[in-house]
């Protein structure tokens, strides 16, 4: 029985993910340092954002305004919970939904632009979102920040947050994995490779690119809302252009071609600015250096490293030369 490339079968990597989740479940029992718990919670939140950014990229679209959508999610949730008294649990879900709707609305004109033009318009959307949030600074706090955001748990301990965000990131990643490893995701990948061929086989490539953009942005909105209700204090600088850039760096360093890329990239890079306050000003420089080193030595990012190491020992791995193709065929 031949394996259909569009139906996910049992995959060895699934066991790695299950193992990772088990380790993370046990982690707070072994390590009691609040600092590490804090970093992991931040990683969980940013993995959702970076993972969804990569999901959008599978359709060939690179968004530079992803943090802008995180901001929309965050401020919608803050407005609902702090000013309207909605429970933060419900406001987070509504925030994701509203981000989805906004992304659908702006996605329709955006998706008509391709490549660098799409990237530029998302960049300006991110900047525009900041200005609009600034206009409503009574509710958003603008750059000076807003405090007193309703908390998810009425406790000072970070442990409940840790488990909540662990479950949330797991569920989000399962959804993204299912989307990608099915005909839905393969259709997005087809669109990325050639939109003319895609439309010649009946794919409404415009609709598909709007769809993936909206789904990805909904995850970003959820991550932003989660960040708000975890941090409790938030300023617009969390969602500025630099924040969008960092998300791209997480994805690229981890490896944009693999599902594990944003997970690995985020886990490593999120901790750098948190490590030391004095380092904080040099983060862009550090990230640039890391990105250069990684992309020069590991073109497929950190996630591509195992395959790369394997490749050093077995030359033939994936992809034959045309000559080999002919020889194999005859």
């Amino acid at each position: 029985m031949l394996k259909n490339p569009f139906v996910t079968g049992r995959n060895k990597t699934v066991y790695i993910y299950v193992g990772l989740v088990i380790v993370l479940l046990l982690f707070p029992l072994v390590v009691s340092s609040t600092f590490y718990i804090h970093i992991l919670i931040l990683s969980f939140i940013y993995v959702i954002a970076a993972g969804s950014l990569r999901l959008i990229s599978t359709s060939g679209q690179i968004s530079m305004g992803h943090a802008g959508f995180m901001g929309i999610g965050a401020y919608v949730s803050i407005y609902l919970s702090k000013f309207l008294g909605v429970s933060p649990w419900i406001s987070m879900a509504i925030a994701a939904l509203i981000t989805l709707i906004i992304a659908l609305i702006v996605g329709i004109p955006f998706a008509r632009l391709r490549g660098i033009y799409f990237t530029m318009i998302t960049l300006f959307f991110g900047l525009g979102a900041l200005s609009i949030e600034q206009l409503f600074s009574d509710y958003t706090g603008g750059y000076s920040g807003i405090a007193g955001i309703p908390a998810l748990f009425s406790t000072d301990s970070k442990i409940p947050y840790y488990y909540f965000f662990l479950i949330l990131v797991t569920v989000c990643l399962i959804i993204m994995f299912r989307l990608e490893h099915s005909r839905i995701g393969q259709t997005w990948k087809a669109v990325a490779q050639s939109y003319s061929v895609a439309s010649s086989i009946g794919i409404n490539e415009l609709q598909q690119r709007v769809l993936v953009f909206a789904i990805g942005c909904a995850f970003a909105g959820l991550a932003g809302a989660g960040l708000a209700h975890y941090s409790l204090v938030l300023s617009q600088s969390n969602f500025n252009l630099l924040a969008s850039m960092y998300l791209i760096v997480y994805v690229l360093v981890g490896g944009i071609a693999s599902f594990a890329g944003p997970i690995i990239g985020t886990a490593i890079l999120v901790m750098i600015p948190e490590m030391s306050r004095s380092l904080k000003d040099y983060v862009p420089l550090l990230f640039a250096a890391i990105m250069l080193i990684v992309l020069f030595t590991m073109p497929k990012g950190l996630a591509g490293l195992p395959a790369q190491v394997k490749g050093w020992f077995h030359r033939k791995n994936k992809g034959n030369t045309p000559k080999e193709v002919i020889n194999n065929a005859s």
Binding site: L2, F6, T8, K189, V197, N320, V325, I326
Partner: protein, 253 residues
Amino acid sequence: MLLDVKGLSKHFGGLQAVNQVDMSINSGQIVGLIGPNGAGKTTIFNLLTGFIKPTSGKVFFNDNEITAKSPHIIAARGIGRTFQLTPLFTEFTTLQNVVASYYLHPKSGFLDIFFNTPRYLRNETYAMEQSIEILKLVGLSKVKDELARNLPHGYQKMLGIARALAVKPKLLLLDEPLGGLNTDEITFTLDILVKLRKQGITVLIIEHNMQILGYCDHVVAINFGQKICDGSAEEVRKNPEVIKAYLGEQHAA
């Protein structure tokens, strides 16, 4: 009448790429569209398949107007096409290229796909079996797991046809399927055309290679965006306008 084109025109600025072309294709035919380089053949293909919108004129397919509809809608109506420069899904394998092209028939719903329902799995099994059949037909089943970008040119051309067949076209538009092929590959491709016609697929084919004339039931010749001749292969071959277009004035006696 399967395809009926009336007064199709496309102007790019001052350039009349296609000018008042009328053309009709009956079911079950192989129709050739010939003409020198730059005559507007590929532009006509792009107009028929909605990749560019005509300046004026109408296109009817199965008596329904498809003028200026989007490419994916025209594909859904039953027109498959290949591209001259063989764009494929280069990062997919041969098999993935064809399976991916089974997007319309059967079409699975978003939730069916997401939840891996039995209906989706049934659809995918069907797409898979059909893809293997198509790959056997075009002789690519041995290279089904190779990445499309690693295939030799001739194989890529065949894969282009295989992909277009996955749309289950009533009308198949082939843009220079023989371009850059060697003699064996040309014979093989021509055989496939005959097999496709037997399966009831109508084929409209752009070609420079005059070998194709022997396989066409009907030929349309164009030059400078205008139709210069329309008839059987024999008529077109003898037509002075065609000879002039291909060989120059002095041969057109």
